[in-house]
């Protein structure tokens, strides 16, 4: 029987897994025992529902409800003095839970400390934009939408940012194919010639490194030059290679390696 490959996760998988391997965890601490973050987490817990909190590799990590995201980021900015939003992105857990994890990374310049605010949303659920608080969220959230298709409410200009406006699919999702999909191979052809010309033009070759030995439309071989489009499956004639220097063209000489010299220093 053919091996079943899941369609909702097309990422590369490790080809060998030890059955008894248990992956270690990064060290995590309780933030209330950390002198840098104990005050922050105390104030945050008084005002919002915190689902989970720990300190991991110099970061205060808090998990909150998705509907609180705007207010929590505002609280971090205004009350806890985290004045810079350095990163917003999503993690795709659609295959496991049908959810996205959104995280906001914030920086407190005075206290030299960083926090990561995480929340989870369902696939079609929208999340409130934090752009009114931080202008940097304008582009981060657009990128998040472009790459994951996460819907953002009240964003000033919700459009794709890196991919073309008419692109289909969201590239960083785990179910996005790794080598271009059915749509990608016709993208340029449809745009330039129209869908009706698909039969004439053929799909776009998306493997840039592919060389077809018998393709005389795109490739020609030195020493075996044949007319454009000729069929060479049954062999091709040799054409001699002529170099200008051999024919005695004025002012052009053939390089003699013995007379050249390597410069040691500039």
């Amino acid at each position: 029987m053919r091996k079943y490959t899941p369609k909702n996760d097309l990422q590369k998988k490790s080809y060998y897994n030890d059955r008894f391997w248990v992956a270690p965890q990064t060290p995590k601490f309780d933030p209330s025992s950390d002198s840098r973050f104990c005050n922050d987490i105390k104030l945050l817990k008084e005002n919002f529902k915190v689902l989970n909190e720990y300190v991991e590799l110099n970061f205060l990590v808090v998990t909150i409800n998705a509907k609180d995201n705007f207010n929590v980021v505002k609280f971090f900015k205004e009350e806890l003095n985290y004045r810079m939003l350095t990163e917003v992105s999503a993690i795709d857990y659609l295959a496991q839970d049908g959810e996205f994890e959104i995280f906001y990374q914030m920086l407190n310049l005075k206290g030299r400390k960083r926090a990561r605010i995480k929340c989870r949303i369902k696939e079609k659920q929208a999340i409130e934009s934090v752009e009114p608080l931080f202008r940097s969220a304008d582009w981060s959230e657009r990128e998040m939408f472009d790459m994951y298709g996460v819907k953002i409410n009240n964003h000033p200009y919700m459009k794709r940012i890196l991919m073309p406006d008419d692109w289909q699919g969201h590239p960083l999702r785990k179910d996005y194919p790794l080598e271009g999909d059915e749509f990608a191979q016709w993208y340029e052809v449809d745009k330039i010639f129209g869908k009706e010309a698909r039969d004439i033009i053929g799909p776009e070759i998306r493997d840039a490194a592919m060389i077809d030995r018998y393709d005389t439309k795109r490739f020609s071989r030195l020493g075996h030059e044949v007319p454009y489009g000729a069929d060479i499956t049954s062999g091709e004639p040799d054409t001699p290679i002529q170099y200008q220097e051999d024919g005695g063209v004025p002012l052009i000489g053939k390089m003699d390696p013995k007379q050249s010299k390597n410069i040691e220093r500039r």
């Binding site: 990422q11 590369k12 998988k13 490790s14 080809y15 060998y16 391997w21 992956a23 270690p24 965890q25 990064t26 060290p27 995590k28 991991e56 590799l57 110099n58 970061f59 990590v61 004045r83 810079m84 939003l85 350095t86 990163e87 992105s89 993690i91 795709d92 990374q105 920086l107 310049l109 030299r112 960083r114 990561r116 931080f134 202008r135 940097s136 304008d138 582009w139 990128e143 790459m147 794709r160 940012i161 890196l162 991919m163 073309p164 406006d165 008419d166 590239p171 960083l172 996005y176 790794l178 449809d190 745009k191 330039i192 129209g194 869908k195 500039r266």
Partner: protein, 410 residues
Amino acid sequence: MQQTNRLKPFFENINFERDDNHMVVNFGPQHPSAHGQMRLILELDGEKVVKAHPDIGYLHRGMEKMGENMIYNEFIPTTDRMDYIAASANNYAFCIAVERLIGIEDKIPRRAQVIRTMLLELNRIISHLFWLATHALDVGAMSVFLYCFREREHALDLMEDYCGSRLTHSAIRIGGVPLDLPAGWIEDLQKFLDKLEDNIDMYESLLTENRIWKMRLEHVGVIDEELALSWGCTGPALRGAGVKYDIRKEEPYEIYDELEFDIPVTDTKDSYGRYILHLAEMRQSKRILEQLIPKYYESDTQLMAHAPQYISAPKEQIMTQNYALMQHFVLVTQGMRPPVGEVYVPTESPKGELGFYINSKGEPYPYKLKVRAPSFYHTGLLQDLLVGCYLADVVTIVGNLNIVFGEIDR
């Protein structure tokens, strides 16, 4: 609405023919001053910019997707292609993130730390020289471009002597550096540094009091503290706004906490201030490099950390010991398996805060990899920064922010 089946110029929400005095200008994507493939759509009232809309994505290669489908060591050469002006800074930002994730950050040998710091600072000088060259060329000072490129060429020679390539270095590995410095490299570096001081003086004499240079840069592209923090500006753009925050000092990594250097800050907040800042930073990098030379000679010769679970043993051991060979084979074919967890390590690249967010599930491939590139936010800033300035200043501002499209589009 766009017709996707015909090639037609398509500008949604942009009307080129207008009834008022406004004009819409398309700047780029193939503009020599855009420093890469950036398209700016500018709405002009006379010569004043009323609205600016940067359009990016022309160099998008899907590096984050590539990273999620590669083992950790495989990804290092790809990071070279992000900020291709200072490739070692990207290599380093990725490697330090993985090292912190697997918990070997404090096991990096001393000599590797010294060499890494040297490479990072040399890359900072290379990047700043390139920035000054292209920025001056944009504004109209052709000869500065030639002088800076001459100097940068010597720095690239040093990089080439060390790792064999000029732009895509891949000179830093997870766990250390692959090679020791070649014989005579330190002497060459010292010669380069001696000349650099004079050369920076020369750039200053050509530009700092130059009337045209001052007219083009002073009071142009003013970024105040509020705007800089709101847009997540880092590096020279943040310090140019008067905020003294340098990750090398505030959240030190490698051996920056042992080195003496100053953080230049300006409070003029304009392009001219940031120009002065870049020159001052080059002098500080020179100062750091000079302190590193004696530290190099004092260090032991080990180059890669000893962590057999994650990092291959040295070549001699692989060739002589069976167990080291087995470890090496597993690490090369399957890749290392870091602990489950998330990591983000900020580093001060020449452009600003560069960091890799890695979410590991204990697999040889990262579950999620996100690059926090400084230029991405600096380009977004153009939306707010260009409004109200003149069309001629657009080139100054774009050049002054030191954006590189390899890391914006990734």
